[in-house]
């Protein structure tokens, strides 16, 4: 058991690493800790993608009484289980010399060392299974993000308690006091297990919260907005597609085949009228299903969503079955993107995504995607300035005041020319396939493409303010993204041969950990001279504003 004096990094240590192998009667021995045994199960689940196919095969084989598929899937399944067991047995963690050390593997040993003094956040993810077993997935993050951090999947509540007390000092139950050996704020633990009857917070995931500063709730998303967002989204599409494929593959031919039943039941469907009616009905049913699935997904994912700010940390907690708590230090935000899908716009809503750097690069888990990709899944358009001000202190957001510059004057012409050429090509291709009606798609495309060209060119705008670069694009989903000079990593001015002919150029801004926001500040078809001047100005501004890590 780790004694108190060991957690004090200023203490002299009378042992080297070799003493770990010594007989446990040594009082200075550092305890090597394993993850909770149920980690095996969760690890298996996490890696389930690897053996999903054999597993499904096995299941369907079993349903049909087919021995061979069962055997094959079993054979494919065994190594996956073996790997999980291996991973579990070879992972040990310990706290030694003021470092949290996580060892993984035997032959290819991977050691992760996280200095305890730098640990600032401990994020937790708990889904229903986790809660039933009294465990949680723990993610340990450091402040500056330049040190590595660790994910421990899974730890039991008591293990977590032990870890927390070792990291944040034994006296952590006192609010506001700071332990001498620890520089950071003191954390008061708020553990959570199976939902208790007096849990009035609506099930929001409580976590280890620093008490040194008061927290301010920035946003709570009501269920109505989640429903609206779900209706506007396409989340259901993937599920439906996958489900339909499975269904047609395995069930259609059996007694459960719905379409066969329909065939038998309906009158002779030879009249065009009935075909049309039925297809329309089917389409409508599919669309309704899609929307309902979307709503369901949003509710599951973001139920009880709460965004709050404690000092410089933004905290999100949400989730119905899987509780996620994510922490985003404000200074890590590299890129903010406001997405306004046309359906959401009609309802006066939008979503805000961010990109952060300095966190984990590898594992995409639930808290990651909530913290970044789905930062604020749905919010009223009017609320955006207020929220942006919380994300970035000092940012007063007024869209009407942004000095937007349009693209080059002839950008619309260029797009139109592309549209016309594409339509002609399509018509020719259609003609080659079947005449004379093959020309139809191309002819139909022409006005659509011209319309698209007109609006698309107008929809792209660029602006540079005192502290930031802003770019807006998109018609169906309007995306407006902002990044700040100290977050810009590189700048690129580029010209394709077509650009040269049209006297245009493209300006691209590169930031760290780009991607999750689904939008890049890459401004095409800017006027050549303007782009060159901007390039120089941005060079200057970027050089003047150095990144500050906190």
């Amino acid at each position: 058991m780790l004694s108190e004096s060991e957690s004090d990094s200023t203490d002299e240590h009378h042992f080297e690493k070799e003493s770990i192998q010594e007989v446990p009667s040594q009082t200075n021995a550092v305890e090597m800790m394993f993850l909770h045994p149920s980690s095996l199960f969760f690890d298996l689940l996490a890696h389930s993608r690897n053996y999903l196919v054999p597993l499904l095969l096995g299941l369907f084989g079993a349903a049909r009484g087919d021995v061979y598929t069962l055997v094959i899937s079993g054979v494919l399944f065994v190594p996956a289980v073996g790997m999980s067991i291996f991973r579990y047995v070879t992972l040990r963690y310990r706290i030694e010399d003021g470092q949290l050390i996580v060892d993984q593997g035997v032959i290819f040993k991977k050691t992760r060392t996280v200095p305890v003094a730098k640990i600032q956040n401990i994020d937790l993810v708990q889904n229903v299974l986790h809660r039933m077993l009294g465990v949680a997935e723990v993610k340990i993050e450091t402040a500056s993000g330049t040190e590595p951090e660790a994910v421990l999947r899974v730890l039991s509540m008591s293990q977590m308690e032990k870890l927390r007390s070792e990291i944040f000092g034994a006296d952590s139950r006192s609010v506001g006091a700071s332990s001498p050996e620890h520089e950071g704020p003191v954390f008061e633990p708020v553990l959570y297990g199976p939902r208790s009857p007096d849990d009035s917070s609506g099930g929001s995931a409580d976590l280890l919260m620093p008490q040194s500063e008061p927290s301010a709730t920035i946003l709570k998303i009501p269920i109505s907005n989640l429903v609206r967002a779900g209706l506007a989204s396409n989340r259901g599409l993937l599920t439906i597609g996958f489900g339909m494929t499975l269904y047609f593959q395995f069930f259609e031919q059996t007694e459960f085949g719905v379409f066969r039943a329909l065939e038998r039941w309906l009158p002779n469907v030879e009249s065009l009228f009935w075909v049309v009616i039925l297809s329309v009905a089917g389409l409508l049913a599919a669309m309704v299903m899609l929307r309902l699935l979307g709503v369901g997904w949003f509710l599951l994912r973001f139920f009880g969503y709460q965004l709050e700010r404690r000092g410089d940390d933004l905290r999100i907690s949400c989730g119905l079955l899987t509780k996620v708590s994510a922490t985003v230090p404000r200074n890590r935000i590299q890129f903010i993107s406001i997405h306004r899908h046309w359906m959401m716009r009609l309802m006066g809503l939008c979503s805000i995504r961010i990109e952060t750097a300095g966190g984990s690069v590898s594992q995409q888990n639930a808290s990651e995607s909530v913290g970044k990709r789905w930062f604020v899944p749905v919010v009223a358009l009017n609320d955006v300035p207020r929220i942006l001000a919380e994300l970035r202190p000092g940012l007063s957001w007024d869209e009407s005041e942004i000095p937007f510059q349009p693209l080059a004057a002839r950008a619309k012409n260029r797009l139109m020319r592309i549209a016309v050429i594409l339509s002609i090509l399509l018509s020719l291709a259609g003609l080659a396939i079947s005449r004379p009606w093959g020309i139809l798609p191309g002819v139909v495309l022409l006005p659509v493409a011209i319309l698209w060209a007109t609006y698309h060119a107008r929809a792209m705008r660029y602006a540079r303010t005192e502290k930031s670069v802003i770019y807006q694009s998109g018609i169906m989903t309007q995306k407006l993204s902002i990044t700040f000079f100290e977050k810009i990593q590189t700048l690129k001015l580029s010209q394709s041969p077509f650009d040269r002919r049209w006297s245009m150029a493209r300006l691209t801004v590169d930031t760290a950990a780009a991607g999750p926001a689904d939008h890049r500040i890459s401004v095409p078809m800017l006027d050549e001279t303007f782009a060159q001047e901007e390039f120089q100005s941005l060079r200057e501004m970027t050089g003047k504003n150095q990144p500050v890590f906190g």
């Binding site: 750097a357 810009i488 990593q489 590189t490 700048l491 690129k492 001015l493 580029s494 010209q495 394709s496 041969p497 040269r500 150029a505 691209t508 590169d510 930031t511 760290a512 950990a513 780009a514 991607g515 890049r520 050549e528 001279t529 060159q532 390039f535 060079r539 200057e540 970027t542 050089g543 150095q546 990144p547 500050v548 890590f549």
Partner: protein, 185 residues
Amino acid sequence: MDYLAEPLARDDPSDDVPGQFRLSDEFSSLDPRHIQVELMVGMITWAIVALGALIGLVVAWFRLGFGIYFYVILGSAVVLLAALAIIAWLWPGIEYRRVSYRIDEEGLEIRRGVIWRHSITIPLGRVQHADVSQGPVQRMFGVGTLTVHTAGTQNASINLEGLAYDHAIVVRDFIVHQRKERDAV
């Protein structure tokens, strides 16, 4: 007005005293030996392609004999190979003229591109680290590649091939030194 089309080579780096490098607004070109490196790589690649074509021709001859189809294939193969050879011969020289770099107050700027042109700039404070490397052909001619790493995503690593090896090391050290000076604590 054509920023990206400006020809380069105002400052020949191989004249610099080794160990010295200074901030300059002027663009420098690569080491001329880089052309030879590219030529050699081009020749080797062409040889491999020609060998593949030869094998293909032999196979075609087996199946078609000396018929008209074979001659058509032979003819087109010869034309293609000749075209490739000409390109491989001329391209390094053309490209050499269109690559340049400079390090000024605002950062490292690299311009390149013959048909598709671009200019990338990295503020000196954003450099994470920089390496110098040498491929086998480069080693023969004494040139190297400077790789600058940033925290960016698309341009996480930016390569500048064709600097004189010693000069590349000088530049690398200079960049790292400049970055340390600008590092905000």
